[in-house]
């Protein structure tokens, strides 16, 4: 795979979720070490709400039913921002980033640059999900337990 993307050191991915077409969770991963139960709940809530936002958006975008939809920023909760990606099989990918508000214009510029990066990151993750689904021993609709997929997610989203 050419150009294996990794997040820059200024973007911190906090969690990553993959949901199927009925919003059933297939994969959920937290990247923060020592995450508290409260934060865990908060992030799950954020992801859950993001799913609703995705539903709204795809119902509206009837004009482009066959394209992969990078949905960009979905929802914010305090400093956590959820970014989403879906495709015509209604598979949904959500990454939550910890993005404190920019302290200076340079920081703001960096944030907009990152937006473009997120699109490619999510597209890359989509490819990884497709590969994991391609495993004949994987039953679609069940939890993704592939170690290879786990490693790939870590390589892209986890800086530690």
């Amino acid at each position: 795979e050419t150009g294996r993307l990794q997040l820059g050191s200024d973007s911190m991915a906090v969690c990553f979720a993959v949901c199927g077409k009925w919003n059933n969770p297939l994969y959920f991963k937290f990247f923060q070490k020592d995450i508290t139960a409260e934060e865990r709940m908060r992030l799950q809530f954020l992801v859950h709400s993001s799913l609703d936002i995705i539903e709204e958006r795809i119902n509206v975008a009837v004009k482009a039913p066959y394209s992969d939809l990078y949905l960009a920023h979905l929802l914010s909760l305090e400093d956590y921002k959820a970014y989403g990606y879906t495709c015509n099989t209604r598979l949904k990918l959500i990454v939550v980033f910890h993005l404190p508000p920019p302290t200076d214009p340079q920081q703001a510029q960096m944030n907009t640059k990152n937006e473009l990066l997120y699109k490619r990151v999510l597209a890359g993750l989509h490819d990884d999900v497709v590969q994991a689904i391609g495993n004949p021993f994987y039953t679609p609709g069940t939890a993704i337990t592939s170690k290879r997929f786990d490693e790939k997610v870590d390589a892209v989203l986890c800086r530690q």
Partner: protein, 196 residues
């Protein structure tokens, strides 16, 4: 004896590689994912039907491969311009460089010749059947690509070499490479008594 055929076959191997490429160009192709997914579906279905009995499925894949091999050999002889194998030792490079290349798209390396020249190993660096596959723990007794074992046995039997073939290592099981061991059991003679 092993040194003797390494000198003689090095030049031959280059020719065989070229023949393999040419044969690969000539044959019809299908989408790789369709092929690997069909194979994957076959293996998982066999596992379901036998309730996860890996040995039974290995056996079934072997039998399926055998049926394929006895038919594939004619296609191979017709479409490839590989020379006829004068003896068992010739079969190694021909299978590795022409046969595998033509039908799987990849070449294998021949290694592990035994002193008496009756056994060799085919090493596959790439196995297209493995694409996307991750073998779960409970099926670690399975040789996922065991159909290849049957194909080799079936094909060689049609050219009068009765062989035993089996997997020694498989990348899917976590081994560092994929290895098939081919052992000559006997050279068959045309049995005229069958034509009564």
């Amino acid at each position: 004896q092993p040194e003797f055929f390494s000198v003689r076959t090095m030049a031959q191997t280059k020719t065989l590689i070229r023949q393999g490429d040419r044969a690969f160009e000539k044959v019809d192709k299908i989408n790789a994912e369709l092929f690997t997914m069909s194979y994957g579906a076959l293996v998982t279905q066999l596992l379901k039907d036998s309730n996860g009995d890996c040995d039974a499925v290995n056996q079934q894949l072997d039998s399926i491969g055998y049926k394929i091999g006895v038919r594939l050999i004619d296609e191979f002889i017709a479409k490839s311009s590989a020379p006829a194998c004068r003896n068992f030792t010739d079969t190694a490079e021909v299978i590795a460089k022409v046969g595998f290349r033509m039908f799987l798209g990849v070449t294998a390396t021949v290694q592990g010749w035994q002193e008496d020249g009756r056994q060799y190993s085919l090493i596959l660096d790439e196995n297209p059947l493995n694409q996307f596959v991750e073998l779960p723990e409970k099926y670690k007794g399975l040789w996922y690509s065991n159909v290849l074992v049957g194909v080799v046995k079936g094909a060689l039997e049609q050219v009068m070499f009765k062989v035993d073939c089996k997997f020694e290592r498989d990348a899917l099981r976590g081994d560092d490479s994929t290895e098939l061991k081919v052992t000559l059991q006997e050279v068959l003679r045309e049995n005229m008594e069958n034509f009564d």
